[in-house]
Point group: C2
Chain length 403, copies 2
């Protein structure tokens, strides 16, 4: 007689079980209960349903045992092939495709050089369709369903509307890409800022587990940021929150790629560092608008070896970054600011000026207990985060699809 659609506790508990299994690997029913604050009777009931839906499976009992007395635990794990997701990272002149399974493991990864800046919105859509189709045809045998796609894009995106508002990798704007891919592949499509994907990965790292309020700054060709508030990415009203790279260091200051002056990015990004150095220092040759990793490493080396011009450039970048971070501390008061991205290669050269700029800018009360650290850069992190986010976003759907 009653269909109380208001009570979401069963769904919540089921999702909690799935996510615990994804984060922790195989876990016994009693432990699932303890970890999620539910009774083992409920876990039995939930796992019976999931087993029947073939979303989980029981581990065969371990032959060699060393667990003391009592009935041994029966470990439960996610069925990896129950579903899969694809993450596409869209960067300047390159796209990366990664396939992840239901348990969160990466099953395939590929890179393609693509002249992204010359593409129209239709070109991009056609390209993505082609690449996703190809990867599906090759990789999806055995998988029961493509649950979702995550597009990780540098720049301003609207997750809500599924449109790329503005990206340095693209010459067009306001492209509603999600809906069209969703229609083509009959699955949900998540559009995410690349920094949010990386923050997601870092936030689950044990070193940073005690930092629910985390700001991750990505240094590279441009400068991006993701702010996690209680562990979830802060998006703002239109998805353009946390645009640290275009917050201000100096009114009327250096020219930024965005067209305005004085942005942090105009001092501390790769193109800004290279621009300040190119006329004064001997660096490997290449496209001066998009400095290569080799050129940037050479510049960093000069600074670390004591070249006064290079040192001055990195000190100014560190100072700009420091003042920018001071604003982040005053406005967001996070537990931790993590600096990463390919540009961390120059972090040591910037650090002294960065720290003294923060001290100049803020009184101790506003610094609070916030730590400021750097963290090694791994170019695969973006897609790992995208896979995790796509799975998280589609778990409820996957559950429904099997019921």
């Amino acid at each position: 007689m009653a269909l109380p659609s208001t009570d979401t506790s069963r769904l919540d508990n089921t999702l909690a079980v799935i996510r615990t299994l994804r984060d922790q690997g195989p876990v016994a029913r009693t432990d699932l209960g303890k970890l999620n604050g539910i009774s083992s009777a409920t876990v039995t009931s939930i796992s019976a349903e999931l087993l029947q839906q073939k979303l989980i499976r029981e581990r065969p009992p371990e032959t060699l045992r060393a667990n003391g007395r009592g009935r041994p635990k029966t470990l439960i794990e996610l069925a990896p092939n129950a579903a899969c997701v694809v993450c596409i990272k869209l960067s300047i002149n390159e796209i990366q495709l990664v396939v992840g399974d239901f348990s969160g493991q990466v099953r395939h990864s590929e890179h393609h050089a693509v002249p992204t800046l010359t593409l129209s919105a239709d070109d991009l859509e056609a390209l993505l369709e082609e690449k996703i189709s190809a990867v599906c045809a090759q990789q999806l045998n055995g998988f029961q369903r493509l649950a979702g796609i995550c597009l990780a894009v540098q720049g301003v995106v609207s997750s809500q509307s599924g449109a790329i508002i503005w990206s340095p990798a693209l010459s067009f704007r306001n492209a509603p890409i999600s809906a069209r891919l969703a229609e083509r592949f009959h699955c949900s499509v998540l559009l995410e800022n690349d920094a949010n994907c990386i923050a997601r990965v870092l936030a689950t790292h044990p070193d940073y587990a005690d930092c629910p309020n985390l700001a991750v700054i990505m240094l590279g060709y441009g400068i991006g940021m993701s702010v996690l508030i209680n562990g979830v990415p802060f998006l703002g009203a239109n998805g353009s929150a946390a645009e640290f790279g275009h917050s201000k260091y100096q009114p009327e200051g250096a020219l930024c790629a965005c067209g305005r002056r004085g942005c942090i990015e105009a001092y501390a990004s790769d193109y800004a560092l290279y621009r300040a150095a190119v006329d004064h220092l001997a660096l490997p040759s290449g496209d001066s608008a998009h400095p290569s990793e080799e050129q940037m490493q050479a510049l960093t080396q000069l600074a670390l070896q004591g070249n006064p011009i290079a040192k001055r450039i990195y000190a100014e970048a560190g100072r700009a970054l420091g003042y920018g971070i001071a604003n982040v501390l005053a406005l967001f008061n996070p537990d931790l600011v993590l600096i990463t991205g390919s540009g961390v290669r120059g972090f040591d050269a910037m650090q002294p000026a960065l720290r003294s700029a923060i001290d100049d800018a803020l009184v101790a009360e506003l610094m609070g207990t916030t730590r400021i650290e750097s963290c090694a850069w791994d170019r695969d992190m973006t897609c790992m985060g995208g896979i995790a986010m796509a799975l998280h976003a589609t778990d409820a759907e996957t559950l429904l699809a099997r019921s």
Copy 2:
């Protein structure tokens, strides 16, 4: 046999009913159901409980009716005397005490001149105890219980730990005031930043109802801000988030009251405006460290009448404010930035420079659809917000106390 403390739906629904009644005044049971997405059967059950606990009462049926056919609605309303809360606003050299009833109405308000900067932490506590006791003795007859106290303080406070970290009104720091008052008055004590109280009031105003992401900037002797994210104040890790006044306009810039240089407050606060003017313009005499309302109005008048020196001072303040707001837009991307506080008196004089500074600082994509508006200042708003927040925080307790 079972005591499932996990299911909070009854409590949630009961609180939703109480809050709807507080926000909307008398409402009928059917409408409570529709407004909160629950069935009228559930509302009947909840209201029967609340009636028995004497937290609500039925309105006597209206004699003159004009509602068309059908059984007339029986309106339910909160019992105003079921509980009361006290809000104390602590500003420089003044405290205000306000008593609010369970329905959210203000029942009493008083101001006291107090040399706050000369007080020790113990003095402050003794003073608050005395004033609250006095107001309780006078005003609390008829009320069934003092449900809570809200302390609205300018500066950095930690709601979590109940300590005033740092306030321009006080000369001491890190004072754990909440716990001691809670013990003395046997009720919960909420410590809030004054800007958060004001933002709470503005957010419920119908003009701003469609702005779940709202930044409220308070101009006055100092400069504060509150950022609401999905309607709730953003506090950060230690409660020192949204310190807009000490975000940076210009490295090595003007000296701020905090001791550092280049803060927005050092350009656009009352003391900064007065400081820039005092040697060049004839203004009413008074304490130059704490300019009076009269002095500030005279200065604003000069700027609006076209005095070139005053105009230049307000233009520079507007420019600093504009660059600061540009950072707020880039980092928070709110739906609306509202500028208020006693300092809005000078908003018209600052506005042209403010708007052109924002245009200089940000590309259109980052401005997004954010509106920037000012809003009239009412010195009683802080305590209205404090009353609302204290009631909200104590509803669950009040419910328990009567069960």
